[in-house]
Symmetry: C2
Subunit: 422 residues, 2 copies
């Protein structure tokens, strides 16, 4: 063991933090922090990363799905890669952590390994996935879809507001649609992703490290009511067909049901009505239509099914009570939950404990590249706290100590996987 | 009485109907039926009316507030005028009855009187009030405000979307802001207005004539909630500050309270939430703000006060329950109810009975020029049924027989007032 101790790589917290802050400066100056995929600023961010990786001898390449991959070879050519990754693109006016913190953590880990002289048995890869955030094409996780064989022709034909086709945009950033199947990987032994929690739980409980068990399934449901527009002054209450009344009653039931489901601590559940549209929208007109879009998430699809059934009947009842028609009840999109590997989760728990960090098992309520990667290899995610749970906003923040803790845990997990076998 | 019987004027139903349909053809062809005040089409409508009035010898003039007044002198110069009026302007894509049916009814009554040889003791006037519908300047009842001394400098300074000032627009249609006080009338003995009900009550009950008791007061209240935008996937239900939940719960309470108030048959009450705004409005974002605009109407201001108090505390409770701030609760506009003259109402009831029409006392839930006229003279309104209660839409409809019945009743009321005395 003495040899191992001497060569143990060490995270350089100040260097890690400096790189994270530096790539944050690569932003649309008028909308900090904005580094959208498929833009020159995104390419500038990648050039920054490439230079950092090549400075210590990592090989950098782009795969056919536009993912940038930095790699150090391992000592055992029979072993698959231990991959660490996230994304360097942002939402418009986003923050300096969502995504890129996981890429910079990987950079520091790979650099620390290279500098330490430790030669892992597995190849180690750091992946900057292309376009995790929904780009102007309206598609999220372009790169991780591509790496897991989930990027199909229909998606590649999507068009942005400027008329650009996704397949062309992909080629412009260095991808290659002709050889897209080559991006599908079968040689990854484990995938690890560090990400800010984007929620308030770790901060609230004073915990350093979140061990993600499941990345939830997201189901979006649209409910539309149609009544009759009428004069707000002359139409008696008992003759109205007010669609907004049906919508409001349904929204109240959605909230009540979501709170009841969320109270069951054996599963994760949240539901949100983020879109409420009432038309025609005149102060003196009884509303004719009301449209709600529900976003429901759980680690268990059967819970989403039960929720969907309850709101189906609640919305029918609300429509009947308001004498309007429940015009539609449609699932707009649906997904399956992605489960993190139990052994990898245990590595994170033990690594945290060894390093003196408190950890907490929790689900991820947000989608991540790791959810796609779970289709091709064992995955795990390390969450770090973020201020007030804020994300997708310029005030998004994690402290240097928090980012460092997550990176140290992730490096220790890489060591544990490499030592453990496989 | 034999002399009176011989000279009794008679409504010509076909002529009345032909004129009503003819002026309906004066419309923006792309948006039937649209004849907006302060437009060339509006002037064309007035030219049509002027020609009809002058054809049988009525004097036609414009007052300083832009109202067009057709007049037949009476036999007793000591008596004030019996005035009949409404408005010839429409909302965009409105109907062929709201407003103009009352003007054409007045035209037919004045013409029938002129042709009959009957010389009333009172002068008879037919008034086409300027801009009853909210014009692009955002002000309703411009002409009846002017005739009752309620058109002030602040209103005259209002600007439309094209940058035109109302005072200039008023001059362009023949008004005169310099002599505006001259429009204020003190010589009107009675004001009568025929209008479609714009609601479903008369049709529902199979009644020909509505006898309006009160034109309701309208109070508009804005309620705004502010919570915290948050990630729809990662923010646990019990840590959310969802403004839409507070808004929906308040809307449900508004409806419940309105139904309870409306059930009290001693008074009129309706309340509507026609504007619901939820922001930022992303399907995956917990709403930060929600804004409702309430339109509450009653014949009794104390009922509006009570309603306002109840919704004040209900909205505070809804905000507390959703852990958001009830940011504002503001009265945007308020009015007083206008009461119709009891003697004139009785004339309408008796005239209806004499002519074999069923009548029903009811309040007006919509505002009308008559509500302003009530400040300077006794007023009454005759409502006629309209199909399905529809109004402010191209499908707005009353049958020829319904318009004729209302006109016949109104003519009989003029006779009764003139015969009754002073």
């Amino acid at each position: 063991m003495s040899d191992d101790v001497i060569l143990r790589p060490t995270v350089n917290s100040d260097r890690l933090w400096a790189d994270l802050m530096a790539i944050g400066e690569i932003t649309d100056p008028d909308r900090p922090y904005t580094r959208r995929s498929f833009t020159p600023l995104f390419e500038e961010g990648r050039a920054f990363l490439r230079e950092k990786f090549e400075a210590f001898g990592a090989q950098v390449k782009l795969d056919a799905a536009g993912n940038m991959i930095a790699r150090l070879e391992g000592s055992d050519p029979q072993l698959g890669a231990i991959a660490i990754g996230s994304h360097s693109d942002t939402v418009p006016s986003g923050g300096r952590f969502d995504g890129v913190a996981g890429v910079i953590a990987g950079l520091e880990i790979l650099r620390a390994i290279a500098e330490s002289g430790w030669k892992p048995r597995h190849p180690i890869e750091i992946i900057d996935f292309l376009a995790e955030e929904p780009s102007d094409f309206g598609l999220s996780c372009v790169g991780s879809r591509g790496m897991t064989g989930q990027l199909d022709g229909e998606m590649l034909a999507m068009v942005d507001s400027g008329g650009r086709v996704l397949s062309n945009a992909l080629e412009e950033v260095g991808g290659d649609t002709a050889t897209l199947p080559s991006a599908l990987r079968e040689d990854i032994a484990a995938f690890l992703e560090l990400h800010i929690e984007q929620g308030p739980v770790l901060e609230d409980r004073g915990v350093d490290i979140g061990v993600v068990g499941t990345i939830v399934a997201i189901r979006r449901i649209e409910v539309a009511f149609e009544g009759r527009a009428a004069h707000a002054g002359t139409t008696p209450m008992d003759l109205r067909q007010d669609a907004a009344v049906a919508g409001a009653a349904t929204l109240v039931k959605i909230r009540e049901t979501a709170e009841r489901f969320a109270a069951d601590k054996d599963s994760y559940f949240v539901a949100t009505v983020g879109i409420v549209e009432v038309k025609p929208g005149g102060s003196n007109v009884v509303p004719r239509t009301c449209r709600l879009v529900i976003d429901a998430r759980s680690d268990k699809p059967e819970i989403l099914d039960r929720f969907q059934e309850i709101i189906d009947s609640e919305s029918v009842a609300a429509a009947a009570s308001a004498r309007v028609e429940r015009k539609s009840y449609e699932v707009l999109s649906d997904g399956v939950p992605a489960h993190c590997d139990e052994e990898l989760q245990q590595h994170i728990r033990v690594a945290s404990e060894e390093l003196g960090y408190a950890s907490l098992d929790l689900p991820s309520g947000a989608g991540h590249d790791a959810a796609f990667m779970a289709r091709i290899c064992p995955v795990a995610m390390v969450f770090i706290p973020c201020l007030g749970g804020h994300s997708h906003t310029p005030v998004e923040w994690s402290d240097q100590a928090e980012v460092t803790a997550g990176t140290e845990v992730l490096l220790r997990v890489v060591e544990r996987i490499d030592l453990a076998g496989g």
